[in-house]
Amino acid sequence: MDYRDAAAEADFRDRLRTWLSSNARKGGLPSTGDEYWAHAAEWHTSLYDAGWFGVSFPTRYGGQGLSPVFEAIVDDELAWAGAPPKPSLGYIVHGMLRHASEEIRERFLPSMIAGTERWCQGFSEPEAGSDLAALRTTAVRHGDEYVVNGHKVWTSYSDVADWCILLARTDSDAPKHKGLTAFAMPMHQAGVTQRPLTMINGVSNEFGELLLEDARIPATNRITEPGGGWAMAMTVLNHERSPADLGYTARYSRVVRELERHVTAQPTVSPLTRHALANAYVHSEVLRMHVKRRLSERLSDHEPGPEGAIDKLLMTTTEQIVGNAARLGGITGALEDTDSSWLNIYLYSRAATVMGGTSQIQKNVIASQILKLPQR
């Protein structure tokens, strides 16, 4: 057991640190305002162009084919430089790698990883949240294309996306998990209407809903076999639940560090705030240690499975503990109308235990698939 960098890792870290010393875009605090999200695409391409994004993805799709532990180096260094986290794309990439044909992978992965084409994820619907397999959006084959009708909601990055990884029902007679298929749907077309959803903290750039009215998808854009959509969705969600793929450890570490600085500049710090700060640091550090352990497990060719539910709960607990420290340490800025970013971090953190599968669903997964508790 050795957490130290091997020679190649140390070299990579040094080069990244040098690059960040002149390229770390400080920007606003993560997820607190529209300005932050407005620069997300630019940050993605500059990271990628310099060789710091997609480092563990296969080289044939534009990644660097490095071991997963390099991702932890990227996260650590981004956090220490005060830079924004890396784009949260790993889960879609892994879903495609596992379930899409070679043709689909070659067609879509390089531009997705390079950030020249942006993606959103069309899974959830108004009537299909936790019960995702109840989704009603249909895709009906007409000649060389599928015609799609339905309503997707809670769709991150829908405002800027060129493509949507869409989960739709292609067989309404099949049992509900078995009638689903995944597609790459072009977003720029008449049948797709995108509407922003304003988040609890006032951000309107990140989140949206999609109205699909006779939207068209070429049949060649079908990602999975007909009926194979559920399996892909599970892979995507297992990765979407993994802080190792999301790069969120960098986000939390950065918020904690800047909050510590913010609080140090205040005339007094209450005992409760001090306690909350300690707790935020403890949890963000333990999450970092946890990600290192998980990435090392992948060295044994371990494909993330239900333990993603554990990781997600560790991650979202951390997000809310960090959010709580931000509330205690920074709420006066909102009262005085000088700086609402700390309040916004707190408010945004409340979504963590819902998006990507609620905490309650994660606990069901842990109980049934990991603890294997009897279900009746």
Partner: protein, 331 residues
């Protein structure tokens, strides 16, 4: 980076697990069985596991943590933590540790005892200890001395008795010299080992709770089928996995990282593990229902071990204040 255990480390863990299980108390009534206690003490001595931190040993903090966790998992009635901390302190001071010795702490367990503290001090984990070491002053630095102990104080931890250091017959350990930095590094090592101890106690209770929930029937079904109970056990597993990741990292860090980073990591890990262990034990009591609140249920044995580990070398409040001070000073 490769954070996986090596094959040798896995072997060592399994050996310690077998040894601990063989002599573990299975019931509360079975605590204090001198035959088993002696057997485990002999096994530990024969295996050399007590010498992992001897003078001249290499970086073995991961190995010590693995053994500690396995002993805690079995609620082993063996002196391991105290003697290992004593041996490690002597190593740092450049001297060979006296045979069968543990450490003397202040009455609140917050720090290692000095000469002045000695009258009210306690020797922890003193089941098989004959003496305890404490700090003496040696110019700008510290020295070490050793004093015989008299068994039998404290009722917090039922598996690891404490003892009172004697008021006479102290022996200076000749040549021992420790700087304040040495002591800080030793304390970080101790918190790493204590984190592993907490992890073991937590795992024991979690496993017991899962087993109990699957066997206990109410309303004609195992209580483990109820979502309310399932969610408690799931929360417990999440904390356990977080604690495992913390212990893996800190166990490596205290021997491998620069002192300042190691101290930070040790505080983080100890704080996470003590809260996790207490919560997991409390969940286990809840899942055991009425039985969980009785003396005969083993959970309180694990909880008591965890409560003691949480007090040694700084309780929760002390460590939180220390961590915040360090962080805000650095910010």
């Amino acid at each position: 980076m490769d954070a996986r255990l090596t094959a040798e480390q896995r072997d060592l863990r399994d050996t310690a697990a077998r040894m601990a299980r063989k002599s573990a108390p299975l019931t509360v009534a079975g605590l204090g069985d001198q035959t088993r206690i002696n057997q485990l003490a002999d096994d530990l001595t024969d295996s050399g596991l007590l010498e992992l931190r001897d003078l001249g040993s290499g970086p073995t903090s991961v190995e010590v943590a693995l053994v500690t966790e396995q002993l805690a998992l079995a609620a082993a009635e063996a002196s391991y933590l105290g003697p290992t901390l004593a041996v490690d302190l002597c190593r740092r001071a450049g001297v060979v540790a006296p045979a069968q010795c543990t450490i003397a702490l202040t009455a609140d367990l917050a720090r290692i005892a000095t000469q002045q503290d000695l009258p009210g001090s306690v020797a922890i984990d003193a089941g098989t200890a004959k003496c305890a070491i404490y700090l003496t002053s040696a110019g700008e630095n510290f020295g070490l001395a050793c004093v015989p102990v008299n068994a039998g104080v404290g009722t917090l931890d039922l598996t690891r008795p404490m003892a009172r250091p004697s008021s006479q017959d102290s022996n200076e350990l000749e040549g021992a010299s420790l700087t304040a930095d040495d002591l800080s590094a030793w304390r970080a090592f101790a918190h790493a080992v204590l984190s592993a101890d907490l992890l073991g106690s937590a795992r024991a209770s979690h496993l017991a709770a899962v087993e109990y929930a699957c066997g206990r029937t109410q309303y004609g079904r195992a209580v483990a089928t109820f979502q309310a109970v399932q969610h408690l056990l799931a929360e417990s597993l999440v904390l356990l996995e977080g604690a495992q990741s913390a212990v893996n990292y800190v166990a490596w860090a205290v021997d491998a990282e620069p002192a300042d980073a190691a101290i930070d990591t040790a505080l983080v890990s100890k704080l996470y593990c003590l809260t996790a262990a207490r919560t997991i034990n409390e969940i286990a009591i809840q899942v055991h229902g009425g039985i969980g609140n009785t003396w005969e249920c083993m959970i309180h044995v694990h909880l008591r071990r965890a409560l003691l580990a949480g007090q040694i070398l700084g309780d929760e409040a002390t460590l939180i204040e220390e961590l915040v001070d360090r962080r805000l000073k650095a910010a």
